[in-house]
Amino acid sequence: MFPFWPVVGGILIGLSAVLLMVLIGRIAGIAGIVWGALTGTEGDRVWRWLFLAGLLLGTLLFHSISGRAYPEINASFPLALSAGLIVGVGVRMGSGCTSGHGVCGIGRLSPRSLVATTIFMLVAIAVVAVMNTFVGGV
């Protein structure tokens, strides 16, 4: 079966990145947008907060129009908190996340982003494999 929603979703994410570039010349990297929303100069904060608000609104909009149920969340608090903390440190140190490096960076063929994306994909795949083997799934 053709993966309709994944392809549509990916195209929309790509279009969002292109739009942000052509309109205001920015990379649509969420980690960077969040960090700048909290620490950036006054004039550079508003569009970032509105982008994040759009992210929430867009998600709500999709679920209300498509009627798709909200995904279930059944992780433990300690796991979510430690994962969040590690993700936060990692994206600041590595200057980007899945969107900044994985979509925008690879989209403009940045060698840094190709390296970063390869590493975080491989590590994440290894972590899931290890968790499945030794901890009995996540």
């Binding site: 990145a17 969420i30 979510a80 590690i86 994440a124 494999a129």
Partner: protein
Amino acid sequence: MRAISGLFAGLLFGVGLAASGMTDTAKVIGFLNIFGAWDRDLLFVMGSAVITAGLGYKIVLRRQQPIFERDFLVPTISDIDGRLIGGAALFGLGWGLYGYCPGPAIAALVYLSPITLGFVVAMLLGMAIGNRLVQS
């Protein structure tokens, strides 16, 4: 116009994240689980996002400047150093442990789960710590 541009791009991004299934941690873990019951869907998400962004950037970056600003702010550093590699590895570790990267985690706040809120708050704290590490 800068603000409206942000809102509009964010909206598209949010619809894209929810539609693609990335706001579902089980789906993301299924994608990373290539040695088990692999869910290939997110490969199509990343593929179509990268191709769209790549083609779009090619056209857009031919312009002298963006529509509402003076300059394109595109990263120019090219060092592949320990910081980049270590940061990416840490990010991969956190992503694989739970299944959220920053965008989907923030988008998923609308599901009103305290666990997701906890993830996002911890992530912000982590960013502050990461920033200190980078500057020291």
